[in-house]
């Protein structure tokens, strides 16, 4: 039989699968949604060996999406934010090491080295280190009141900065970056009675991620709720007095006054551990569809990974809870020898005011945009969906505003690759059931 490198690699990977699971120590670095989920799935799938879950933050795994939404507005309490009760980890023999930073990965010795020097041995390592907010080298970036929003601690700082004093005027938030985080924070700030100014260097918000019609819709809707936009605006500096931020200086000299400045200009992968240990990274740790890196003992899941996108025949990174859960399942299934989970269409959601935005798919290779319904920003009546189609009328992505059937049917159509009839899709009187049939 001819044996090539790929076969040797496959055999090595099979070897790594657990023969006597009680002898295998799984170390998970990163106690976010992905890290917490993979520990839980490993137990669900019957893995009986020791699991150590190491997290840099002081609290067990929690949900990040509400941080810019319900949590910021004060509609969710700390307990509802937690993914699982504290007792869960002890009950499931998951050793939780919080407030603990991993400094180094030694693949030769199969250890991770903690800040302080302690080395922890692993048989299987799962990196779930997430992303961090992108820092921009602006004068004044280190002033008090310049905030980012990734963690519960960040959200608490933002909430404190926005809370209205007993007397006196409400606070004013300047947001640098008109992405989803920035828009969600602006909406929450308005709900808290604060003013909000969104500063975006592109001529429209969501420029990187949404089509023009959707950008215009969101701008109009936010304006109706009192949000001010500075579009096509460069930022020169954050101005401060006595170490406290007081505003954002735009290119050209105008000052946007603010009590707090939220910087939301994207995120970068926490892939340094892997990169320094010689694993291939490109703003994300490269993995296959089992979430495994080129080192068969090391997996990477969630925001920190860069992964195949089977529906789109390319690789990329996905920053979403569904992706964290999908890759957690892929890794847990591979480690325990279960059948791999089905490929999922990437999807995302956002809540702003009474708007529920659901996005399925990615607009790769789409050549046409088709809008079902009217994208007019009428309070209480907004309901439409933007479909991204290939030249041969296959759905690649859908962005649905208060339009669950369009989202759900769109997700099915992305999987089935079945061409749609554009006239029917455009016609709101034809149900999505019929369009997808």
């Amino acid at each position: 039989m001819h044996v090539n490198d790929a076969d040797v690699l496959k055999a090595a990977k099979r070897e790594m699968r657990v023969s006597d699971p009680t002898l295998v120590h799984i170390v998970i670095v990163g106690a976010g949604h992905a890290g917490g989920a993979v520990a839980a799935f490993l137990r669900q799938y019957g893995f009986a060996g020791p699991i150590t879950l190491i997290g840099e933050e002081p609290i067990p795994p929690y949900q990040r999406p509400p941080l810019s939404k319900a949590w910021l507005k004060g509609e969710a309490d700390a307990e509802s934010l937690m993914l699982r009760p504290d007792s869960f980890y002890a009950e499931n023999a998951i050793a939780l090491r919080l407030d603990t930073r991993v400094e180094r990965l030694d693949r030769g010795a199969k250890t991770v080295v903690l800040h302080g020097g302690e080395a922890i041995s692993y048989d299987i390592l799962i990196l779930a280190t997430g992303r961090r907010a992108r820092r921009i080298p602006l004068p004044g970036i280190d002033l008090n009141g310049v905030l980012e929003l990734r963690t519960a601690a960040d959200a608490d700082r933002l909430k404190a900065a926005l809370s209205r004093p007993q007397s006196g005027p409400g606070k004013r938030l300047a947001v640098i970056g008109g992405g989803y985080i920035g828009l969600e924070a602006a909406a929450s700030a308005r709900a808290l009675g604060a003013e909000a100014v969104v500063i975006e260097k592109e001529p429209r918000v969501l420029a990187r991620v949404a089509c023009e019609a959707l950008s215009t819709f969101f701008q109009d809707y936010h304006r109706q709720h009192g949000v001010i936009f500075e579009l096509g605006a460069g930022v020169e500096a954050i101005e401060g007095e006595n170490g406290q931020a007081v505003g954002v200086r735009l290119t050209g000299g105008r000052l946007i006054e603010a009590d707090a400045v939220l910087v939301g200009v994207g995120a970068v992968a926490n892939d340094e551990l892997a990169k320094d240990a010689g694993l291939e990274c490109d703003n994300g740790i490269l993995v296959d569809l089992a979430a495994q890196t080129a080192d068969p003992a090391i997996y990477a899941i969630g925001d920190c990974s860069r992964r195949p996108l089977p529906h789109y025949e390319r690789i990329g990174h996905l920053e979403s809870v569904p992706n964290a859960l999908e890759q957690a399942k892929q890794a847990a299934a591979h480690i325990t020898g279960r059948a791999p989970p089905p490929h999922e269409v990437p999807w995302f959601w956002s809540d702003q005011y009474d708007l529920k935005l659901q996005i399925a798919g990615l607009p790769h290779d789409a050549t046409q945009i088709l809008i079902r319904g009217e994208p007019t920003a009428v309070q209480g009546a907004a309901r439409f969906a933007v479909f991204h189609l290939t030249a041969d009328n296959r759905v690649q992505a859908v962005e649905a505003i208060n339009a669950a059937p369009e989202f759900m049917a769109g997700r099915q159509l992305i999987t089935s690759r079945k061409p749609v009839a554009p006239d029917k899709l455009r016609d709101m009187s034809v149900s999505m059931k019929e369009v997808a049939a």
């Binding site: 669900q44 949900q63 993914l83 659901q358």
Partner: protein, 106 residues
């Protein structure tokens, strides 16, 4: 607290004491009950917390909102007693509720 009995596709029952005020979905996630994914964390945005409510409990559980209905319309294996468990709040009246999880949430 109310006892919620989660039954998996194979028929295994898992009785769990769930705090009132939480949802049936949250009760499952917090206790690592298999079969409920809840990708969106309860925002009624994903239909990955689909359950079948025991027919005897349908009245007590109440009816689905329009939003939930339209999500369920496109979920796999939907039956008349299908609900999204993130939309069912646990109350004392639901003590003893039985829900069965489908074979797959996708």
């Amino acid at each position: 607290m109310a006892k919620i009995i989660y039954i998996d596709h194979a028929g295994t029952e898992r009785p769990i004491e769930v705090k009132t005020g939480l949802t049936v979905m949250e009760g499952a996630i917090k206790h690592n009950v298999p079969g409920i994914d809840a990708d969106c964390g309860g925002a009624c945005a994903c239909a990955t917390c689909h359950v079948y409510v025991d027919p005897d409990w349908m009245d007590k559980v109440g009816s689905a909102s329009a939003m939930e209905e339209s999500m369920l319309d496109f979920a796999e294996g939907v039956q008349p007693n299908s609900r999204l468990s993130c939309q069912i709040k646990v109350t004392d009246a639901l003590d003893g509720l039985k829900v069965t999880t489908p074979e797959s949430q996708h």
